[in-house]
């Protein structure tokens, strides 16, 4: 019999089944199995658990789930037992997993490794909270509650609402938390124009980087002539260290599908593409599965939900070219051409894929759509700042305590993100700056910590929102070296079409490398700025226009550091090899001979119990002695 | 370098090497063509060298106007030491070879030395190859041209026939299928160098200084040329020339006999019909409206390209007294194929017949060939032998002057030739004192390089024009009277200069005087951008003429060599319009004196110090 959903009743039926699976009358164990989880050994933990359950013939439900965002603490394991609050265990490993099982078997609570307890579950779509039993007898009072964790306290998870709560491969669970209700609503109650109106009023802006108002984009495609139109989901996440798209793709694929279907209906497209980079095998797998299910249940395909609207989605794998994040390049790539931007106009909305009107939005943007429909534009537009509405997912990495994915309302300050949520800088080091927006973003210095994060503010300080990468750097990071690193990334990732971008980046890189090698000259900074300007102004696409940001911001905010490199031939952060010297502090050196033995260059001389000495001519500044010295008698200058 | 290509190509066949020099080294003083040719010969060949030895050089030289829009500019001048006279030898040809050489980037080619085995030269712009010609050796002109143009028709070919290979002093150099540099035995020199042919292909063209001016001048010259009777009458000129020779009494018969030839009228009639029947279409050299040439197709004569030069026919008919046009025809074609000078060959045939009749030579000498005037078959046979230097042909191949010396037995008494040893071309000179002087003093080999358009020649048919021209040149109408000795040296001077001018500019001498020197010199300025007044150019011409003289003097020439055969001073004409005319020795010598004086030479015919100074020849 066909599973196809054609009425609200049938949808509710499905939801019921979903809820059953979400809150079974037996233990439900969820293991964080997104890439971050797997990377830290989630798979092993999962296997142990499943074996154990089998062995002991336990009646328990073990399922993989997406990323809760707190990647620092992965692998996370959720335990939900009837009548008990949900408990989140952190940094699990095989033996801990064993322990957990034993405890469950014995019916006790295992109190080690608890990250937090969850007292209620929030169904954003329905704006309802579902209390877990307090389980007072379990006496978890002194365990922190999930909502109170500093990491989560200031978060508002809209796009990532289901990540880590459901089994991404189980459509019913998605529906249980309100999935596809928005679609149903749209198809049954909205004219396409109304949908667009709703999106416009919500003030949602593209989360891919440029921040173009999503609704406006939709109108253009809607109004463009032609009966064949396309919608595309841009899942070509290229920034190093940024993975919010991935985590949504892996943890909640249906939210993207639903968003796209709604968009397609609004624009009048009958076919859609998801352009996802081949480096995301798990994401692709999850998407395929989700699409398959959606078709089975009649959310995709012909006559969706028994109505007259038909829509299908194809997956297109990108070869992982950074530049293919650019709309026109992405389209070229889908068409099987060289992934290379072309001038706009014409905009994709007028002539995109195969020359047809095309609307492209990024993963996060699509994921927001169902919520906007469900809760309405007014609700959504209350979140965020005057011109930047809603939330933004950031991937917090670098020199920070709590690395992970955080979704916060627009307008939150950097300080809140880095200190309150991120928990500050490890090792008591000094916070120096944060690079937002990935390689083509800019470096925001410590004294701008109170900057409210939204599109305008970031642009004002010379950076960009980008897709939401946040790389935190501390005093031990050399900004010149940092800029150099980003340029070396971009010189390979620029498509190479525009002279200004191709040759300009190489030129700037050459100068920066020179500087880090202590061969900087008077006027290098000015020249850098000149070139940067040209690359910015004269290049065709976003990549070129933003490529110089790291150089411009660092040279602006850390001019002194540049000058130190150029004039004094010194690297204040002690990073640039050619500008540092290792020397032995005679007082501290005990003459243990350890560094003498370790030094591959035999650059260190000296005898037992007498202070050693480094022959600078021989030293290649590998830093081994520095690491090996037990008495930190070796210092950098 | 506008007008000029700027380079002269040197090919040393002994060393198998090629090199080039700047034309500008010579063009200022010697203009081009004949002028530069003479200069090169004078500079490069040591005195008294064997003309057929490797020391002699063969110069192909174009002029600044060659290969330009200038009408009648298809000429190339050949200069060498003549084996016929051991003096300066020059000859000149039209067609397309000279221009092609120019377009290949060379104003001239100078051949030095002697190849070990037969070779030919292929020039394609800067690419000059000396190639083996074993297979070509022995082939006649037509075959050779065909072979060398197979696969690249654009090739322009200069080559010699068997006559040249066998070093006959009567052999010329053929250009493609028709044009000939026939005089002075230049073919023999080429043959002596084991050089069968020079094929040229050029794609560079010649640069023009003032294209606008040239366009105008071109039209003016064209119009002037179209007013010439030659133009109006062509193609019937081929037989009308017989008539004019008749009318003007220039015609002579056999070996300069003193009586008229009874069949002459019949001959003209036959030729007229023959031409009218077989004439195909007129043909011209580069940029020339005159179409002196004519295509013929004769039934039974298959394949051969048959293009006739109008000038040569009468000499065949009159020298050998041939009234059957078919034989005139055969012999003409024969000479073309074998690479022989039609005029010179006809003349030796006539001489041989004379000697035979007079019993100086016998059946034994001629190895069974019956030399009698009117016997076309015999002559054809004899010409074949001449080309191959077989039997008696071996002696006749030496040319009139040297042949009679070899024969001895007082044969000299019957020989009539110019100083250069060639026959007097197609004219009776006894009444034409000026022409006689020319034939005696000319230093450039053949006399026809100085006597085109001589007013004496049309005095009887077109007296008014003749008088007018004479007035223009020497300021006195009566000067046109052929039989007068006075004024003639001046006239000769003028015509000699005119020819040198034409040959050096690289244009044809035939329309040169009718068009007028002034137009040519304007064309020269337009092409080269060199602003020279006519008088400056004429000074250059004087220089060239005197240098020719110097060369011959260096070869041992004396005043007494500037003369003509005794017969012309003894035997008076006995019939016809010029009955009684004969050359008077004293008056003749007086003309010489005046001529020398006008040239700035002393009585021994040696240029005076002052002259040399004026001409910068010291």
């Amino acid at each position: 019999m066909s599973k196809k959903i054609a009425s609200l009743r049938e949808l509710d039926e499905l939801r019921k089944r979903g809820l059953k699976s979400l809150y079974p009358d037996k233990p439900r164990i969820m293991v964080g199995m997104a890439t971050c989880g797997l990377a830290t050994g989630g798979k092993k933990v999962f296997e142990i658990l499943s074996k154990g359950i089998e062995k002991n013939g336990m009646d328990a439900k073990l399922i993989p789930t997406g990323c809760l965002g707190y990647c620092q603490k992965e692998p996370l394991v959720d335990l939900l037992r009837p009548g008990w609050p949900r408990i989140i265990y952190q940094q699990m490993d095989p033996e801990k997993a064993e322990k957990l099982l034993d405890n469950i078997n014995q019916g006790n609570i295992w109190r080690e490794n608890v990250l937090a307890k969850m007292e209620e579950d929030e169904f954003l779509i329905f704006d309802e909270k579902r209390k877990y039993p307090s389980g007072s007898e379990a006496n978890l009072n002194n365990t922190p509650s999930y909502q109170q964790l500093p990491f989560y306290k200031k978060q508002l998870r809209i796009a990532t609402r289901n990540c880590g709560f459901i089994n991404p491969t189980n459509l019913a669970e998605y529906v249980a938390r309100g999935g596809y209700y928005s679609l149903f609503k749209v198809l049954t109650q909205y004219e396409p124009e109304q949908v667009i109106e709703e999106v416009i009023n919500s003030g949602l802006r593209g989360r891919g980087g440029a921040g173009f108002p999503t609704g406006r984009k939709w109108i253009y495609s809607r109004q463009a002539k032609g009966d064949i139109k396309y919608v595309i989901c841009n899942a070509d996440e290229g920034d190093p260290g940024a993975y919010m798209d991935r985590s949504i793709l892996e943890g909640d694929p249906h939210s993207i599908l639903e968003g796209m279907i709604i968009g397609a209906y609004a624009i009048g497209a009958r076919e859609g593409y998801i352009y996802v980079r081949a480096e995301y095998p798990l994401a692709i797998e999850r998407l395929k599965e989700a699409i398959h299910q959606a078709q089975d249940y009649g959310f995709l395909g012909n006559d969706i939900l028994g109505g007259r609207f038909s829509f299908s989605i194809n997956i297109s794998r990108g070869a992982g070219a950074f530049v293919c994040g650019e709309e026109t390049a992405l389209i070229a790539s889908i068409e099987g051409r060289q992934g290379e931007p072309r001038p706009r106009p014409p905009f994709p909305a007028q002539s995109g894929l195969w020359g047809k009107p095309t609307n492209i939005n990024n993963v996060e943007t699509w994921a927001n759509i169902p919520v906007i429909i469900a809760r309405g534009a007014d609700w959504f537009s209350q979140i965020g700042t005057q011109r930047s509405k809603g939330t933004k997912v950031f991937s917090l990495v670098g020199k920070i305590n709590n690395t992970g994915l955080v979704e916060v309302p627009m307008g939150i300050t950097l300080r809140e993100i880095i200190y309150d949520i991120g928990g500050g800088i490890p090792g008591g080091k000094k916070f120096k700056a944060v690079q937002t927006g990935g390689p083509s973003g800019g470096c925001v210095p410590s004294w701008l910590l109170n900057l409210p994060v939204d599109y305008e503010q970031l642009t004002k300080v010379g950076s960009i929102m980008g897709s939401g990468g946040m790389i935190v750097i501390d005093e031990d990071t050399c900004v010149v070296d940092l800029a150099r690193y980003f340029l070396s990334f971009l010189q390979d990732e620029s498509c190479g079409k525009c002279t200004s971008c191709r040759e300009g980046i190489v030129w700037m890189l050459e100068i920066l490398t020179r500087i880090t090698h202590g061969k900087g000259e008077e006027g290098d900074i000015e020249l850098l700025e000149q070139i940067a300007e040209v690359v910015k102004n004269a290049s065709l696409c976003g990549l070129g226009k933003t490529a110089p940001n790291s150089v411009l911001t660092t040279s602006l905010y850390f001019k002194d550091e540049y000058e130190a490199h150029i004039k004094d031939k010194q690297c204040p952060a002690r990073v640039c090899r050619d500008l540092i010297t290792y020397i032995i502090n005679e007082e501290k050196c005990t003459g243990c001979m350890r560094c003498v033995k370790e030094c591959v260059q035999e650059a260190i001389v000296g005898e037992r119990r007498k202070p050693h000495r480094i022959i600078q001519e021989k030293c290649i500044k590998c830093g081994i002695c520095y690491e090996t010295c037990k008495f930190d008698a070796i210092k950098l200058e | 370098m506008n007008g000029y290509s700027g380079k002269i190509l040197f090919i040393d066949l002994s060393e198998n090497q090629t090199s080039t020099i700047e034309t500008s080294l010579y063009s200022r003083e010697y203009l081009g063509g004949r002028g530069i040719g003479v200069k090169l010969l004078y500079d490069m060949v040591r005195p008294k060298q064997d003309p057929l030895g490797p020391e002699n050089i063969l110069v192909f030289m174009t002029g600044p106007l060659t290969g330009t829009l200038t009408p009648s500019s298809g000429r190339v001048d050949i200069v060498t030491t003549s084996p016929e006279s051991n003096l300066l030898g020059g000859s000149n040809a039209g067609g397309f070879w000279g221009p092609e050489l120019k377009w290949a980037g060379y104003d001239g080619v100078v051949i030095k030395g002697k190849a070990k085995n037969p070779v030919y030269i292929q020039i394609y712009n800067d690419e000059v190859k000396i190639k083996d010609a074993q297979k070509l050796w022995g082939k006649d002109v037509f075959e050779t041209v065909k072979i060398l143009r197979q696969g690249n028709e654009e090739n322009q070919v200069a080559c010699i026939g068997p006559a040249g290979e066998n070093k006959s002093n009567l052999s010329g150099i053929a250009f493609n299928f028709r044009n000939y540099a026939a005089r002075a035995g230049v073919g023999a020199v080429m043959g002596a160098k084991n050089l069968k042919a020079i094929a040229v292909r050029g794609t560079k063209g010649s640069d023009i200084y003032d294209t606008k001016a040239l366009q105008e001048i071109c039209l003016e010259i064209q119009n002037r040329e179209k007013m010439m009777p030659l133009y109006k009458d062509a193609p019937s000129w081929h037989w009308k020339l017989f008539q004019s020779l008749e009318e003007d009494g220039k015609a002579f018969f056999g070996n300069y006999e003193s009586f008229l030839w009874e069949d002459r009228i019949k001959a003209v009639q036959n030729v007229k019909e023959f031409i009218q029947q077989n004439h195909l279409k007129p043909e011209s050299c580069l940029t020339c409206p005159l179409r002196c040439w004519a295509h013929f197709s004769i039934r039974g004569e298959e394949g051969a390209p048959i293009i006739a030069c109008q000038g040569t026919w009468p000499s065949i008919a009159y020298f050998m007294k041939l009234s059957d046009p078919y034989y005139i025809w055969r012999i003409y074609t024969l000479c073309q194929k074998l690479g022989l000078d039609v005029g010179g060959t006809s003349a030796v045939m006539a001489l041989a017949a004379d000697l035979y009749e007079m019993g100086v030579i016998s059946f034994k000498d001629t190895k069974g060939i019956l030399f009698e005037l009117g016997n076309g078959k015999a002559f054809a046979e004899a010409i074949e032998k001449l080309a191959k230097r077989e039997d008696f042909g071996d002696i006749l191949a030496e040319g009139i002057k040297k042949a009679v010396q070899k024969i001895g037995r007082g044969a000299e008494r019957y020989a009539v030739h110019s100083k250069g040893g060639t026959e007097l071309w197609l004219m009776e000179v006894r009444p034409f004192k000026g022409a006689a002087l020319t034939c005696a003093v000319t230093d450039s080999g053949s006399c026809n390089r100085a006597t085109y358009a001589f007013p004496d020649f049309y005095y009887r048919s077109m007296q008014k024009q003749a008088k007018m021209v004479a007035k223009n040149i020497v300021g006195k109408e009566d000067a046109a009277d052929p039989t007068r000795y006075d004024y003639k040296p001046k006239m000769v001077l003028f015509y000699e200069n005119m020819h040198i001018f034409a040959d050096s500019l690289g244009v044809c001498a035939i329309p040169f005087q009718p068009v007028g020197l002034e137009l040519w010199s304007r064309s020269f300025s337009a092409c080269t951008g060199i602003k020279l007044q006519l008088k400056d150019l004429m000074l250059t011409v004087e220089r060239i003429r005197t240098l020719e003289r110097l060369f011959n003097l260096r070869e041992g020439l004396k005043r007494e060599d500037d003369t003509l055969s005794q017969r012309l001073f003894k035997e008076a004409i006995k019939e016809g319009p010029w009955k009684g005319e004969v050359l008077d020795r004293e008056k003749f010598e007086a003309m010489k004196d005046e001529y020398y004086f006008l040239r700035g030479w002393d009585n021994d015919g040696r240029p005076t110090e002052k002259t040399l100074e004026n001409l910068g020849l010291k």
Binding site: P343, C495, G496, C498, R502, E503, Q530, V534, N537 | -
Partner: protein, 249 residues
């Protein structure tokens, strides 16, 4: 008709022109390297950059790809444009120091020397060859390979192309003369495309004249029957024509 202001003067133009084409029309000189009227604009060299002011907003854009729109103001040589153009030329000069056209452009813009890292390439990656081959010839024998600073034009897999006609259009349009075509007797070599093509031998004079593939192309495209004369080189065609007409008599 549209009204726009270019370098201070107001002009009326029909729709559909690019700023570059308009400038050319009214005699305003804008330097460019990658533009060719026969192919679609590409905007790779960035030399034709101009300042466009629209609704008070000023931006730099390549004039070849910028459509003329009503009410815009164009400055083809403002200080900003000059500065930018000079630096771009400096980059190109470093990439292709030996290219005549770049040297000239540099001179024209008073760029004496370049400070950018020297590359000594011949190709400025303007993509003209590739576009001509794809859009006009329609054989698509060449394309870009690699990204960023490693980008280059070449044949698929950098081996002998099996579709190249050897027509030489690529070499003809190449602004820097980077593409060399070598004709050796019966072969045509294009080293840059790793390609060597056989040439057709003229039936009459025996000279080799055109690459076989080009002749095939004409065969395919031509309406009339061309087998006869395609075996002849152009020179011989003249002769054969004349011959035929003359043979009448």
């Amino acid at each position: 008709m549209l009204k726009i202001v270019i370098d201070g003067k107001e002009v009326e133009v029909e729709e559909g022109l690019s700023v570059l084409e308009l400038a050319e029309k009214i005699g305003v000189k804008i330097p460019t390297l990658c533009y060719h009227p026969a192919v679609s604009a590409y905007g790779a060299c960035r030399v034709c950059i101009v300042e466009v002011i629209e609704k008070g907003l000023s931006k730099l854009t390549t004039s070849c790809t910028c459509p003329v729109e009503s009410g815009i103001e164009v400055k083809t040589n403002s200080e900003k444009v000059k500065k930018t153009r000079k630096l771009i030329v400096e980059m190109l000069l470093a990439r292709c120091p030996d290219a005549k056209i770049i040297q000239d452009l540099a001179k024209q813009l008073h760029v004496e020397k370049t400070r950018a890292p020297q590359k000594n390439e011949n190709c400025i990656l303007c993509g003209l060859c590739m576009r001509i081959c794809r859009e006009i010839i329609g054989v698509d024998a060449i394309g870009f390979a690699n990204r960023g600073h490693k980008r280059k034009v070449t044949t698929p897999f950098e081996i002998q192309s099996d579709v190249c006609l050897g027509c030489g259009a690529c070499a003809f349009v190449c602004p820097t003369g980077a593409i060399k075509i070598e004709d050796v007797e019966d072969k045509r070599k294009i080293d840059m495309w790793h390609t060597e093509l056989g040439k057709v031998k003229c039936e009459r004079c025996g000279r080799y004249f055109f690459p076989e593939s080009a002749v095939e192309y004409v065969k395919r495209k031509s309406l009339q029957d061309v087998d006869g004369f395609l075996k002849l080189c152009p020179d011989c065609r003249k002769r054969v024509l004349a011959n035929k007409l003359v043979c009448g008599w």
